[in-house]
């Protein structure tokens, strides 16, 4: 590690990476909180939303200039989010709902099946080449001393913070959020209290999928849009959700940012070959799980007879 400038550069890179993980992790954790299963198709929902957003953006961008391209960008993102939300709900209804009473492994496998279908459908319909999403603004870096920060990184941070605060408020304060918490705590009791559990589950899927689409669209500016764009990022985000304590909203946020920082600084500080980055991330994951098996912010469950 060279200087302070290098430190802040890595910090900035780590925070943006972590913010993206956190957004995706939220979807995993919300679904897990209520249905107790890993939605393996989450990364593919992210990819589908990004494609739709990209198409909308390319269609409406046209000759727009300056400020208006940014409006168009966010509008497209919104359409992508809505598409993902509907897709998420549809998948839940078709592939997971019939399995709610089955063993825990059945929906997991069903989700893997859905993941296969979505990613290959996208490859067939839209081709396997990466598609570029144009920046809605000039992305040349802003130099603060020796640190280079791109407007894109700033946008990611802003959107991530806004989304997280909104979600946290929604879950903690709104009636719907309360119903969600109740459902995740105890579905039967929630049902008895007059909560429409099926509807709550559908809404959970919608929100989680929309957040994934947001994350996908944001990173697409940099990593482009392609059929397997969600796979590895999704897997890492899932790790983040587990580290934070799966089922816990704040945990997903903390876990995501932590993972982003660990990945960046693990290589930068410790001088580990970059190719071993994932190894470091997974080893830290395992250490955290061993020390605190329920994740950083998860609640320990006592096993009683």
């Amino acid at each position: 590690m060279g200087s302070w400038a290098e430190f802040f550069q890595h910090l900035m890179n780590g925070l943006t990476l972590g913010g993206i993980y956190a957004l995706i992790a939220l979807g995993y954790t919300m679904v897990y909180g209520i249905l107790k299963f890993i939605n393996f198709a989450h990364g593919d929902i992210l990819m589908m939303g990004s494609y739709i957003g990209l198409f909308v953006y390319n269609a409406i961008r046209g000759e727009l200039l300056g400020f208006w391209t940014i409006i168009a960008f966010f509008l497209s993102m919104l359409v992508g989010m809505m598409f993902s939300a509907i897709l998420g709900m549809a998948i839940e209804k078709i592939a997971y709902k019939p399995l709610r009473k089955a063993t825990r492994l059945a929906p997991l496998l069903s989700a893997i099946g859905v993941s296969f279908i979505l990613s290959n459908l996208a490859a067939w319909m839209w081709g396997t080449k990466s598609k570029k999403l144009e920046y809605p603004f000039d992305n040349s870096p802003i130099h603060l001393g020796d640190i280079a920060v791109t407007p894109h990184q700033i946008m990611i941070l802003v959107v991530v913070v806004v989304m997280m605060v909104a979600l946290k408020l929604f879950i903690d304060r709104s009636r719907l959020g309360k119903a969600m918490r109740a459902t995740s705590l105890d579905q039967d009791t929630a049902k008895l209290m007059g909560i429409k559990v099926d509807r709550i589950i559908a809404i959970t899927f919608a929100i989680g999928s929309a957040l994934a689409a947001t994350a996908g669209f944001l990173i697409a500016l940099e990593i482009k849009v392609y059929p397997s764009m969600g796979t590895m990022t999704g897997l890492k985000a899932f790790v983040a959700a587990v580290v934070g304590g799966i089922g816990n909203i704040s945990g997903a946020m903390v876990g995501g940012i932590l993972l982003g920082l660990i990945e960046t600084f693990g290589v930068a500080l410790l001088g580990i070959p970059y190719a071993l980055r994932d190894t470091i991330a997974f080893i830290i994951l395992i250490i955290i799980l061993l020390v605190k098996p329920e994740g950083l912010l998860g609640k320990a469950e006592k096993e009683k007879v």
Binding site: S140, I219, T231, V267, A275
Partner: protein, 395 residues
């Protein structure tokens, strides 16, 4: 329980063993006026892009040939494409299917080195000619006499690259950012060896993983090490990320690259950052329209431009047609051994990439082209090869 199991098992066995009956019948009737060529490459999965791009090169050649009537003007050619997913296990299944169900005469592919090794052992035993358009590992052609390639081995490319960087570009301290896959690492090792043999030094070599999109950490480290130039022997998707992120980090060091850069997709993905990149690629026939005509036709037919590997596949197909034609004219049938011998005897065949000849071991006798990108247009600098450790420009 036992009855249920035996029922299921016997059903499956019945289905399996009845399949050859009708499927086999089909191939027999169809084989009269067509011959089949196989292609193996990743058509789905993370590397699907490469399989799609390269298979289209072979397909275009075959469509063109069929439009003129086919081999010797009467035997039509059919290309059977099998998906390897970039995995030797699937690749082996592909060659098994191609050889036992389709009875192919020759194979174009596989695309990747790992699959090429597994499939190469298989075709050698079976006696099927295999021509890989993109398997660059130096040892592939040493599997046996049925294995050829229309791409220079990474041994040659590394030698030319290392010498050219040192001698012509005057680079002394080289930074490298390569991906831990066989293609990138092979080129890195080859280039490093020849570059350091000349007296240069690779001062920083950073790695990335397959599928990585974020290279800021490595680039930040490379920036701190301040080499004279950065060598990025990777595939398009990664190089686009690297160039863009390097610019974001304010990294103003010349970039050097490999034939992976010959894919014009790079200009779609990172067109704003390609100016000044120098890369080693295929040679060009001076004053020949073949290359331009091919690129135009390919682009018009498929909606996207070919890379150098797709060009290699196109050339492979035409060299193969030539061999098939000779064999057919001599014997009236397509004996696999005869096809192999005719292919090996190819002399100065004029393909899109220039004159094609094969060395004793099946390697392409080749030179390397050097390109410098101006804006988004690669400018040809000339062809080079290395003789006795010395860089020689080929006129």
């Amino acid at each position: 329980m036992v009855r249920k199991i035996s029922f299921v098992v016997s059903m499956i066995l019945m289905v399996c063993f009845s399949l050859p009956l009708f499927a086999g019948g089909q191939t027999e009737t169809a084989a009269v006026e067509t011959i089949k060529l196989g292609f193996i490459g990743p058509m789905t999965g993370d590397y699907a892009n490469y399989g799609q791009l390269i298979s289209k090169g072979a397909q275009l050649a075959i469509d063109e040939k069929n439009a003129t009537g086919g081999i010797a003007g009467k035997v039509k050619i059919q290309l059977i494409i099998e998906d390897s997913e970039g995995n030797p296990e699937k690749g082996l299944a592909g060659i098994e299917k191609l050889s036992s169900s389709d009875k192919i005469v020759a194979l174009i592919g596989p695309v990747f080195t790992g699959v090429s090794f597994a499939v190469g052992e298989r075709v050698q035993v079976e006696g099927i000619l295999m021509v890989t358009p993109s398997g660059t590992h130096a040892d592939i052609t040493n599997i046996g006499d049925y294995v050829f390639r229309t791409v220079p081995s990474d041994g040659l490319q590394g030698e030319v690259a290392g010498n050219y960087f040192y001698e012509v570009l005057g680079v002394r301290n080289l930074g490298v950012l390569y991906i831990k896959n066989d293609y990138s690492q092979g080129l890195y090792e080859g280039t490093k060896a020849s570059f350091e043999a000349r007296g240069g030094k690779v001062t920083i070599a950073e790695t990335g993983q397959i599928g990585d999109k974020d290279f800021k950490t490595q680039l930040t480290k490379i920036k701190a090490a301040a080499p004279d130039a950065i060598y990025i022997p990777n595939y398009t998707a990664e190089m686009a990320q690297i160039l863009e992120q390097a610019s974001q980090l304010g990294l103003n060091i010349p970039f050097l690259s490999s034939d992976g850069f010959s894919n014009p997709e790079i200009y779609d993905l990172a067109g704003a950052y390609t100016d000044g990149v120098i890369y080693v690629g295929p040679t060009k026939v001076a004053e020949s329209d073949a290359s331009k005509a091919f690129v135009d036709k390919y682009t018009k037919t498929y909606g996207f431009a070919p890379d150098s590997f797709a060009t290699n596949a196109y050339d492979a197909a035409y060299v193969l047609f030539d061999a098939l034609e000779k064999v057919y004219k001599a014997s009236g049938k397509f004996d696999r051994k005869a096809v192999r011998d005719a292919f090996a005897a190819t002399k100065d065949f004029l393909g899109v990439n220039g004159k094609i000849n094969f060395a004793e071991n099946g390697d392409l006798v080749a030179y390397q082209g050097l390109y410098k990108v101006e804006g988004t247009t690669p400018k040809y600098l000339g062809a080079y090869t290395v003789v006795d450790g010395k860089l020689v420009e080929v006129k």
